[in-house]
Each structure stands twice: as C-alpha cells, then as structure tokens.
C-alpha cells in the first residue's frame, strides 16, 4: 500500500518538476545553451508571487498568469543583452555567463530582500481530500493540474502556431533556418523568453507547496531538472514530463524503502549515471536501438 501512496505523491510533485524543466529543454533545444540562470528566474518568480500574495492576497495559482508574462520579458532581455553576445562562442562560455547571471540573481535577492525563509500559505493549505486511505492535499493537486495545463498549452503552441514551429525548426538545424529566411535572432529571443516564463511559472507554483529562501530549494531543484531534461531527451515535451515523473518516483521510493536522507543523494547519482549512460536521453536510446 505504501508504494501506491509514494507513487501518487510522486505524480503530484512531478507537475512542478516538469514545469521547471520545460524551459531548460526549450532553451537548450533552440540555442544549445544550458540555462543555469533558470534557478534564479524561478527564485525571483517565487518572491514576486510572495509579494503579490502578501500585499494583494493573490493566490499563487492565479499569480502564475501575472508572473509568467513578466518573466517572458526578463528572459527576452537577458537573451538580447547578454546571451546573444556569446552564442557562437564555445558552449562553456555561455555556461559561465549564465552562471554569473544566476549569482547576481541569488546575491541580489538576498542583498535587497534578505536571506530568511518565507512561505506562502494559501487559504486551502490545510484542505485535504481522501481516496480510500490515500490523503491528498489540495495545494498539491492544484500544482499538478497547473503542470498538466502548462504541458498541454506548450505542446499545442509548439505544434500549431507559426512561432512554435519556428522554434522547433530552430531546434533541428539553426543554419537551415537561417537559409529559409527565419529571423533566427528574434526567434531565439522569444524561445529564451518563453523558457524563462516557464521557469517563472514553476517558481510561482512552488510557493504553494514549499517554503523557500534565495538559495533553497532552487539549487537542488535545478540539478533535478538537469536530470529530467537529460533523461527525457530534448525533442519531446511529453518526454520531459514522463522523465519528471520517473525522477519523482525514484526519489519517493528511496525515501519509502530506505533512509529519507538519501533522497537527494539518489537524484544526484541518477544525474551522473543518466548523463554518462545516455547523453541523448531516452529518445536517443530508443533511436539508437532502432539503428543498430
């Protein structure tokens, strides 16, 4: 019985894990850049949501609709003024640049807002619902549903809109797009903006479930999202969602079956193993099996 409980609670947190990873997958797909500043955008979004909740009593789930567009602009600005200058340098250069942006975001938040722990307590924080003897809190269910809605919206956007198809084309072959007359700079900016907006959405959703401060839990969550995008491969958004569930399930099973303190140790080891064993992720593994 305990296993079902663990898997259900994994499903709930997978919504959050997936949302924070879509942005990374999108940005890496299009610009072949690992956006280390993703954790910083999530953190700033959490603080923005906290501000909206504290002053206007706005519920975090509603705040997503304000925070996400705001961070689209933040992402676009970062791409236009910083990332664009180093995009054709060695990938390590852009990694260091975005690492600098992350440091500025974290230190800036602590410098101006102070480093202590905050938590948003939505009105339904204590409400629970029972399925048999599995109890589920409302806030976790809402975060999961929000994650699902974002998954569907993102998939529709990428499939059915011009911009979405341009982004997917750019992911396949940047030069071919340039030849086909796509304004690569504009689409890159939009892709980076969209990726940061997704990180913002995840940051807002996170406040409904966990307490936070400028460095916790964003560093750990960022590492988990690396595992997810590598595991899920970069081509398919549903692949990322599936990988998010796999990671959440692995963590919960570790805690249930063995010692709780080993949860993060397992996810970090998983990161290294996944990177080394299948650099292309599940999708590449499947493709490779078809070729050989």
């Amino acid at each position: 019985m305990r296993l079902i409980e663990a898997l259900i609670s994994a499903l709930m947190v997978a919504g959050l894990y997936a949302t924070m990873s879509y942005g990374l997958a999108l940005i890496y797909g299009v610009m072949k850049i690992i956006n280390l500043a993703n954790a910083g955008s999530m953190m700033l979004a959490s603080f923005a949501t906290f501000f909206l909740w504290q002053t206007f009593g706005l519920d975090p789930l509603a705040a997503v609709l304000i925070v996400a567009p705001l961070f689209f602009v933040v992402g676009a600005v970062i791409e236009a003024f910083l990332v664009r200058r180093v995009v054709n340098e060695k990938p390590v250069i852009s990694l260091l640049l975005l690492f600098g942006v992350l440091l500025v975001m974290q230190a800036g938040a602590s410098f101006f807002l102070g480093g202590d722990v905050r938590s948003v307590r939505p009105v339904y924080i204590q409400e629970v619902v029972h399925f048999g003897d599995v109890t589920l809190a409302y806030n976790r269910i809402f975060v999961f549903l929000a994650g699902l809605i974002i998954l569907v919206a993102l998939e529709l956007f990428l499939r059915n809109t011009f911009l979405g198809r341009a982004i997917r084309a750019l992911a396949q072959d940047r030069d071919a797009c340039r030849l086909a007359g796509i304004d690569v700079r504009r689409v890159s900016m939009i892709a980076f903006g969209l990726g940061t907006a997704l990180a913002g959405a995840a940051g807002a959703l996170l406040t409904a479930v966990f307490p936070f401060d400028p460095s916790n839990p964003y560093g750990v969550l960022q590492l988990k999202s690396f595992t997810i995008i590598v595991l899920g491969g970069l081509e398919s958004i549903p692949g990322v969602a599936a990988a998010a569930f796999v990671l959440a399930a692995a963590e919960n099973l570790t805690v249930t079956l063995s010692k709780p303190q080993l949860e993060n140790l397992v996810s970090f080891l998983l990161l290294v193993v996944v990177l080394v064993v299948m650099p292309g992720g599940l999708a590449a593994l499947i493709r490779r099996r078809r070729i050989a």
Partner: protein
Amino acid sequence: MTRLLSRFSKRALVIAQIVIVFAIAITIALIPTIDERSFNLQRIAFFVLWYAILASSWNIIGGYAGQISFGHAAFLGLGAYVTGILWSELHWSPLVSLPIAGAIAAAYGVIVGIPTLRLRGPYFAIATIGVGEATRLFFVNFDDIFGVTLTRGVTGLSLSPGREEMFDPVNVLRLTAVVFVVVMLATMWIRAGRFGLGLFAINMDRDAAETAGVPTARLQVLALAVSAFFAASAGSLYAARQQFLDPASMFGFDKSIALVLMPVVGGIGTVWGPVFGAILYSTVQDQITSIVRNPYLPALIYGLLLIVIVIFEPLGIAGLLGRSTKYVRMLVLPRDGEP
C-alpha cells in the same frame, strides 16, 4: 635570429617566474619569524596561499584542458576529511596524511573522471555539479551508511591537536608556502611541457587532437587526477589549521563556485591568472564585511565580475594586465605550451 632571441628570452621568462614564486613563498614563510605577534598577517597570508593552491589546481583541468568542473569541492573536502580521520583515528600527522589524502583524491578523480570526461563541454560541467553534491551528501551520511562513527556527519569532525607540531598555525603556514611552490612549479612544468601542450590541443579541438595522436581520454583523466591531488592537499592544510571540518562547509557548492570564479576572473588557462583571482577573492571575502555590513555583497560582485569578464575580457585580470607593457604580457600571458 628571432629564434635565438626567443629561446634566450624564453629561458629568462622561466627563471623570472620561478624567482617570483620563491619570493612570494619565502617572504610569507618568514613572516612568523620576523614578527611573532603578526597573527592577522599570518591569517590573511594563509588564506591567500590556500585559495591560490586551490585555484591553480582547478586551472589544470578547467583552464588547460577546458573542462569546467563545478564540483571541485569534492576533492577539497575529501582531502580535509582523510587528514582529519587519519589524525583522529590513527594520530598520523597532517605532514604524513597530506600526500595520502592527495593520492586518495587523485584515485577518486580517476574513478569519476573516466565516465564523465567523455562528455563534452556543458554536459561535463553539469555532471560535475552532480558529483560534487553527491560527494557532499555521501559525507553527510557516511557514518549512517557504514554504521561507523568516523566523520560525525553534519555535527562536524573536531580534531584535538595535542602536542602535534604540525597543528601549530605557524608550521601550517610554512607547509602551505611549500605546497604553494610545488603547485606553481608543477603547473608551470605541465603548461610548458608535452602534457600541457596535449591538454591545450584537447581544449581547442578534441577530435583534431585525437587524430594528431593525442590520447585525449587518458590525458584528461590524468589532468583531473593531478588537479584532484593538489586540491586535496589544500584540504589537508585546512584541516591542520582550522582543526574542525563539517560537510556543509568543506563540500559546499559555494566552495565549488569559488573554485570556478578565481581562475576565470583571474585569467583562465594562464599560470598567474588563478593567483590573481585568489588574491582578489580572499581579500574581498575577508575584508568586505568590515566596509559594507551586508554579507551578500561579495557574491553580487563576483556575479557581475563574471558577466563582464566573459563578455569583454575572457582572460580576466591577466588579460587586462597583458594590455600594459610587452614584458608584463610575456610574463602574464604566455603562449600556449609555454610557462
């Protein structure tokens, strides 16, 4: 004619660098003898040398081979804990356990390096974050996993020095000066030699290096092992001086960040870059809180500095100095494959 001149000036360059290294080490080693009460100067001098050792060791894999490691605190912490445990369990002096700690860390570098160094650029960097954090959590839970009481987990390992000479901070400072000289000579020797040239070739184009006969996998793993050895020696020195280790501090991600910042801000891939970065970092880290109350200012400064450097001057402080006179440039910005 030019080749003769270049050979002569090259030799002079090498001698100049060696003399500078010894000058720094000897002056610092003699501080306690000159003024016994100069505890503050000794404290500052230790941390400058200590950070320089760490930054130079990171530079071997991050600067020369171009494989950026975000988890180098794993080797620093490993070195500290090996020295700490060998002292508290077997009463081996840090002087004895320093090379052992280095060897263990080098072995750990090989075990970790073989799978991860196959990865390219950003993927290697991410894998090292995973390795760094996994090592920290491994040491936090070490006692529980193996059912022993060696590291004492989050509480921290406290070393009672007793009458061991090597725990006297003055001796630690001198040992640090010696290790600093060894590390600087080693990095210069590597950079000027066959090993360094191979690493630079890998840094520039791994596939082209491979076809030119360079065993890229073996060289990278060796570079990581050497880098791990020196980083661990810094860990041993820290254990000898502070006599208290806790996983959060020794393996913390902020330490790994510092290890990336110093060489990049100082001048990645150059011999003196990491030293410049270490001097800047240790002074900002130590003195800034006396000027500005807010403790997050250093991190803010480093973040901004990193952005500015990556965009405007990829060779950091060394690059800036290099723009001055020709001789400074020769000293500070040697060509690849020269000290």
